[in-house]
Subunit: 343 residues, 2 copies
Amino acid sequence: VRAVDWSEDHVRLLDQRSLPRAVVYLEIHDARSLARAIRDMAVRGAPAIGIAAAYGVVLAARSAYRADPERWRDRVEDDMRDLAAARPTAINLKWALRRMRSAFDRVAADPVPVLLAEARAIHEEDIAANRRMGALGAALLADTRHVLTHCNTGSLATGGYGTALGVIRSAFNAGTLESVYACETRPWLQGARLTAWELRQDGIPVTLIADSAAGLLFKNGRVSWVVVGADRIAANGDVANKIGTYGLAVAARHHGLGFMVVAPSSTIDPGTASGDEIPIEDRGADELLRYAGTDVAPPGVAAWNPVFDITPAELVDVIVTEKGIVREPDRNKITALLGRPAD
Amino acid sequence: VRAVDWSEDHVRLLDQRSLPRAVVYLEIHDARSLARAIRDMAVRGAPAIGIAAAYGVVLAARSAYRADPERWRDRVEDDMRDLAAARPTAINLKWALRRMRSAFDRVAADPVPVLLAEARAIHEEDIAANRRMGALGAALLADTRHVLTHCNTGSLATGGYGTALGVIRSAFNAGTLESVYACETRPWLQGARLTAWELRQDGIPVTLIADSAAGLLFKNGRVSWVVVGADRIAANGDVANKIGTYGLAVAARHHGLGFMVVAPSSTIDPGTASGDEIPIEDRGADELLRYAGTDVAPPGVAAWNPVFDITPAELVDVIVTEKGIVREPDRNKITALLGRPAD
């Protein structure tokens, strides 16, 4: 499964809003539509958003170059802003746009070949990073039979394979991991709709739980690690991830379980000093108040729907990146990690 | 609003499965239908289940007496067993049946007048207990502006007024409490469907959150107390309540917030030594896998759906009953409380 891909002359997105009911692809030919697809969560997951935005820059530059070959760099700016503003929390989006912009310097005439090559490089490097993280994380789970994961961090959330779900895939393929518990992940139900769908396709045993059942799961000793992804990691190791991650980290620590964050180094933002500086997206009441066209709550009820939270570094046992692992993360260790070449 | 009531010659239940979409009443004339209504959650909430079961004994005894006036006590046993088995975790059900059975001794001929009076007494005492708990709990919240509650513990879950929601009502009416956050309470959405509906009718400001957003809510300092009900309290003060309560208690302690359990003394079971002995009902996968007739997850995915969890006494700051409050509950304090007359 590829959540996002370049297909001849356009971007092809697997519409994650329709899963698991239907497998529908969106064929996207302009940057504005791509920004809308990110905003509306046709594509989601920090690394997948970054890759989609990179391809979006190719679409933007092509359109700008066709309109005015001399001034495409100016004309592309509106689309760049539009892409950058599509989702606020995941840093991979801004990282991918910065990296695409740095490739502008290498463009002589038609920007498409250079930028498409750069976007493809971002995409392929992400898959390679996932594989590397899979191996590193699986080694940490060598004695672990059952884990809990949250949200969706698999092929659908990345260039392919996955971050936390990549570690789970590698640990299962290594023959050590036996099964996965997955939080359904309200309100968007990424766990029920996407993680369950991916794991079944791979034949990895998965059991869904309500997000609020994690405490009892831990108390009953059913899992020994919680393995999650990240949307942004601050320079001090604080982790922004799907709403609920923080509560899982607090409960994991209370029960003495391991808490592992798996993310490519592009998720670490040296420009964000701590979690306090990370903007938390609020997606509005509707995701809580309606489901499948049906009112869940009385019409007009107020709802607070922050879709990410911040887990402080001191609750994280290990961060796994393609550059290596960081145990008990802090500012110095994160700085040292970012200075390393890929592991 | 009355969730359960005796109406002339039968039991009238407000069907909570239809709320908030529609206000539908079930007219129930036999104990078997009443047991089914409890099992299928047309009526839910530990105290309301107890009251409904008490009225169910009246229906059972009436039918048994009509069939055989001499041997109604034998003929009623099947229905008593059926009622007792309808839900396993809430102790109020068994408590109400025991109390109804003790009234059998006072029956000379037709059992209906005596048993109906006893069921009505159980019902009225529950409402009085709620009012008393409301006053006791509101006094503890005199300096509190915002609280979080879980599940539904209001008029719909009791004889009327509510346990935790009764305290919230009293604190709001006292002019101290300003607003309530309510967990939507997966999988059955009691918070979104029932608590939001009740609080709006009372004009108490309510904001819904996903269950998993409680951690961020606490971290942001938005509430200073968590106020919940209970389905069974063990002799040592361990509390069985709606799934997710335990995670809220762990997170509340982590953030230094108060954690209050509000329940009538009929919820305390001296015969249950600790939380380890409380059976946790598992309601099967469907509540997680389908919503409003739509598949949420891929068909056939496994799910674990325990609908209660156990909060150990050491995470409970105070238990509020109609007999008085117990701070930092333990076996001795609970025993002393049960020995007291009503406060």
